[in-house]
């Protein structure tokens, strides 16, 4: 029997969609995906989610959302969707050996960290190159590190890494950060944090482990080597839409194109969160979009039955 609502992804968008769909009696099924809980699982303090005046840990927030979704009867399945077919109704999705049928699908697969794509980066991943400070910072006690990026994630990673590293150098391609003012102020005030402005990393150096990064100043053209034991990349994210590529409309950057609040190019398939949002990309906006997707799915089902 087909599920009424199948939700793909379990970040703030997917779980908020689940809360609303479950409370509407639609018995949603969430296929949580292999990056369970989404990007917030890799963060520490979340200070801008409304309702938590003292901040909340990312993983803890996701645990609460999960409990809230389950409380109203959401079924959460530990699997990763690797194929979908939206060409016929009910829609079909596959996760490993299991096949699902669904009247409506809500896509909330989020986005994943982007890499620089420079020589040495892939070869040295896990040997000093990382995109997850909370995972790997531990291995760099009293070492020197570079963080590449200029947004909130880069500031957060740099600040987190100061717990372990003796020195953290933020390398940014512009002459100012695009991070929020409070994060910039904290990073610049930290005595373990240095900034190299107007510069890009051209190569990660090291045979078996990172020994440094080669940097080019984009204004002067000057090339230099910064000796570091690790490089953490925080330059943004790409939407997780590879599975849906031939099924629904995506924009040039791979984000799902929405018509109205949450409708995709396929009637009955909805989307919300970072997978369809290249602009705001916040936990709270993702949650809001997940809510819209659930309400739109509910409305769509009611219209079909009427």
């Amino acid at each position: 029997m087909a599920e009424k609502v199948l939700i793909v992804g379990s970040g703030p968008a997917g779980l908020t969609a689940a809360i609303y769909a479950a409370r509407a009696g639609l018995e949603p099924v969430v296929i949580e995906g292999f990056e369970r809980g989404g990007q917030l699982m890799l963060t520490t303090d979340v200070e801008n989610y409304p309702g938590f005046p003292d901040g909340v840990l990312g993983p803890e927030l996701m645990e609460q959302l999960r409990k809230q979704a389950e409380r109203f009867g959401t079924r959460i399945i530990a699997a990763d969707v690797d194929e979908v077919d939206f060409s016929a109704h009910p829609f079909r999705a596959w996760a490993g050996d299991d096949e699902y049928e669904a009247e409506t699908v809500i896509i909330s697969t989020g986005a994943s960290a982007r890499w620089l794509g420079i020589p040495g980066e892939e070869r040295l991943r896990g040997h000093g190159v990382s995109a997850c400070a909370t995972c790997d910072g531990f291995f760099f006690r009293d070492r020197e590190l570079a963080v590449v990026g200029g947004g909130d994630s880069a500031m957060e990673e740099a600040l987190f890494l100061t717990r372990f590293a003796s020195k953290v150098t933020i390398i940014h391609r512009r002459d100012e950060f695009r991070a929020s003012e409070i994060m910039v102020r904290r990073a610049l005030a930290h005595d373990k944090i240095d900034v190299v402005w107007d510069s890009v990393v051209e190569e990660v150096l090291g045979d078996d482990e990172v020994t440094g990064v080669r940097i080019r100043n984009v204004k002067t053209g000057e090339v230099s080597v910064l000796a570091v034991d690790g490089m953490f990349v925080a330059i943004g994210h790409d939407p997780n839409t590879a599975v849906f590529r031939d099924q629904i409309d995506l924009d040039a950057k791979g984000y799902i194109v929405l018509h109205g609040a949450s409708r995709t190019s396929v009637p009955g398939v909805f989307a919300g969160g970072d997978v369809a949002d290249s602009v705001y990309r916040q936990a709270i906006t993702a949650a809001g979009m997940g809510c819209q997707a659930a309400l739109d799915a509910q409305h769509w089902l009611e219209e079909r039955e009427a």
Partner: protein
């Protein structure tokens, strides 16, 4: 939901490795996959289910051991683990394969071809 082919047994099919037990544990002829992990590592927690299932589906063929890097820093350093999860397959005391980063069960099975 229809299940096409579910062979894995859910449960506790993995063993625990420590600084003290690791050298002996990986010296045998049966391949041992050692999962270097920590409580605070979210991607590591993602691997719990897949690793347990793979261990349950391959008795006698592949031993899956979990090594907490917080409590066993010596082993993590000896094997140059700088990112977790790192999963290393050993046989006869020698490293045969190293997988860095979390992945789905399907991907993990594909990466472990020859051992499972």
């Amino acid at each position: 939901m229809r299940t096409r082919d579910r062979v894995a047994l859910m449960g506790n099919n993995t063993v625990v490795a420590t600084d003290a037990t690791l050298p002996d544990m990986i010296s045998g002829t049966t391949p041992v996959l050692v999962d270097f992990w920590a409580e605070w590592c979210a991607p590591c927690r993602l691997m719990e289910g897949p690793l347990d299932e793979i261990a349950g589906a391959n008795p006698g063929k592949l031993i899956v051991a979990k090594l907490n890097v917080d409590e066993n820093q010596q082993a993590a350093m000896a094997h140059e683990v700088m990112s977790i999860p790192t999963m290393i397959v050993f046989a006869d005391g020698v490293e045969k394969k190293r997988l860095i980063g979390a992945r789905s069960k399907h991907q993990l099975e594909a990466d472990l071809a020859g051992f499972v």
